[in-house]
Structure formats: structure tokens, C-alpha cells
Assembly symmetry: C2
Homo-oligomer: 197 residues x 2
């Protein structure tokens, strides 16, 4: 892995994930990651804004996929249908061959509050993008925000279940089930009477 080999970014991502799994996120130095990739600290920060970002290279595109799916859904589609369409649009990214990788990534994020923070920021951006897309379809503010939150919740729980080691079900099915459950829960919560006590 010499200095001028291609795929510097990928090499850095792989080296980072490996080292994080070996020694933990905090105990791993950016210089060490760069070393293992045959590069230097300077180059690392040319490819990633900060140390956390090396774990979130892909999912940045998710927000676009989500909002595009919502925007291009047929006008007659109800809001829940938009959410389903959004989930379907990203399902292609979760193929069985990426399953193990996703699992490692998930357990790592769970161990570091620094990584957890970054994940929450990404999910919040995802939610904002969805809410914007829903408002663009004419949904009122409150509905758009709630629906976006439900969409994010459906996505993250579906992803967690899909990435679990023992899981063999395809992402799309898990996601639909999660969304369906949430919709039912929303009905129950909405129908909930005001406290009478």
C-alpha cells in the first residue's frame, strides 16, 4: 500500500474501522489510522473533516435519497406512503454483503458517545430533510415534523434490527414492519383520551 496507490479514502476507512475494533475508538490515533493506510495525518484530514467522520462516509447521501423519494412520490400518495417510499429508496444500500460491516459499525458507535453524537446529528439532518420534503408536498408543519420523526425512528430501528448478527431478513421487509408498527402506535397515541383522573 504505497504512497501513490489509489483509493486513499477507502483505505483510510478500512484502516480506521479495523483499528477501532481492535483497540477502541478513543485509544486509536489518527496518525495510527493513517499509518496503517500507508498515509499521513495530513492526508487523513484532507479526506475527512474530523476523526468521527471516517465512520460516516456513506450515510451522508441518505438524506438526499429520502427527500427525493418523498418529492417524487405520486401526488395522491398519503404521508405514510411517502415514508414507505423513502425507506424503499435506500433499501438498495443494505445488501447482505454489507451486513457484517454494518454490524461492526453499529457496535462501535454504541461504545463511543462521541460517535453517538455524530450519528444523532446525521439522523437529525435526515429528519429535517424529510420534514422539508413533506412540507413541500403541502403537509402542515406539525404533521411534517412528526412524520419525519416517525420516518427516522422507523429507519433507525429497522437498521438496528437488520444489522443484528443473527438477522437474515432483508432490510426492506424489516423497515416496512417497523413503519407499520409505528403507524399503529401512532393511532393508539392519537386516540388516547385526555387524562381524566
Amino acid at each position: 500500500m504505497g504512497r501513490w496507490e489509489p483509493n486513499a479514502r477507502e483505505r483510510l476507512e478500512r484502516a480506521a474501522l479495523a483499528l477501532f475494533v481492535e483497540r477502541g475508538y478513543d485509544a486509536t490515533t489518527v496518525a495510527e489510522i493513517a499509518d496503517r493506510a500507508g498515509l499521513t495525518k495530513s492526508t487523513f484530514f484532507r479526506h475527512f473533516a474530523d476523526k468521527r467522520e471516517v465512520m460516516f462516509g456513506g450515510p451522508d447521501a441518505l438524506a438526499e435519497l429520502f427527500s427525493d423519494a418523498i418529492r417524487t412520490a405520486p401526488p395522491s400518495t398519503a404521508i405514510a406512503g411517502c415514508l414507505a417510499a423513502a425507506l424503499e429508496s435506500v433499501a438498495a444500500a443494505f445488501t447482505p454483503d454489507r451486513h457484517d460491516l454494518a454490524g461492526q459499525r453499529r457496535t462501535l458507535i454504541a461504545t463511543s458517545s462521541e460517535l453517538r453524537e455524530r450519528e444523532l446529528l446525521k439522523l437529525a439532518r435526515l429528519g429535517s430533510a424529510m420534514a422539508d420534503a413533506l412540507r413541500a408536498r403541502g403537509a402542515d408543519d406539525t404533521t411534517a415534523r412528526l412524520a419525519a420523526e416517525v420516518g427516522v425512528l422507523a429507519f433507525s430501528t429497522a437498521f438496528a434490527r437488520w444489522a443484528a448478527p443473527e438477522n437474515r431478513q432483508p432490510f426492506i421487509e424489516i423497515a416496512h414492519a417497523a413503519l407499520r408498527d409505528l403507524q399503529a402506535a401512532a393511532t393508539a397515541l392519537g386516540a388516547d383520551a385526555e387524562p381524566r383522573s
Copy 2:
């Protein structure tokens, strides 16, 4: 403000807020904050785990208030009623005299993605605490998570509206209205038919 004056923590919080407002979060150094408070960098980090945390001293107690309120609600109370009780339990913290301070804090957080990340982490912990409390009351997992998310959403939008400069309404009213709107939106979302297209 000599070395042995009391209230070091408060002095640091005040100095930090003032400097952040003057120069912005990024342009302010921890050493400068400590200087203005008549203390040193060492002491700052003895009171706050990191630079962000100086902005989140109070709200850490919110999670406890929320889950306590949910746990101690009468058993007959419906889930929406639990959320309302939780919001009521923290309303005492948002008195008119803290209004301006909260506004400054809010605009600051909006300007720094570092602070936004931390806020999201706090809100996520709040949501987890609420979900735990709801599960302890017998709610199933999906319902608990959704309801907690709705509770967090109600709280954060209510807080944003309450902290707006032109607002004069008490927090509790705004919070109830936000929760009511969200409940209505949940009904609509739940009733949403499956996509037929």
C-alpha cells in the same frame, strides 16, 4: 472575583455565555472563559467535562424530572396524559426571569454544530429516559419509543417557542398546545391509509 470566591461553577457559566455571545463559540478559548471568571483552565475542566458542557449545566436534571413524573402518574393515566404530566413537571424551570438567558442560549446553540450535537445527545437521553419510564408502566416497546419521541418533540418545540424573544406566554400553555397538536397529527398519520397507487 478573586481566587477563593464561591460559586466558581456559576461564574464560569456566566463568563462562557457572555464570551460566546460576544465573539462566538469557536472563537472563544477555554482559557479566556476561565480568565474572565478569575480562574484557570484547570479549574474549568474540574467543573465541566468539556467546553460544550458549560452550556448544558441545568438540563441534565430534566431527564430525571421527566421520568419521575411518568413513573408517579396515577396508573389509570393514559400515555398522552403521562407526557402532559412530564411537561408540567419541568415547567417550573422556565420562569419569565430566565427567558432572556434561554433565548441567548438557544441562538448560540443554533450557530454551532458542535453545540447542536451535544444538544441532540441530551435530547436523545431524555427520550431514552422517557421510553424506559413508559415501558415500566407496561407500554410495549414501539409505543414507548414513539411516545417518548413525541414527548421530546413537544418539549423542544415548546421550548423554542417559549424562548422566542417576542413570546410572553408561559411555558406550560405552549407545551400543552404543542402536545395537543402532535397528538392530532399522530391521529392523522395513524389513520393514513396504506399507499394504494
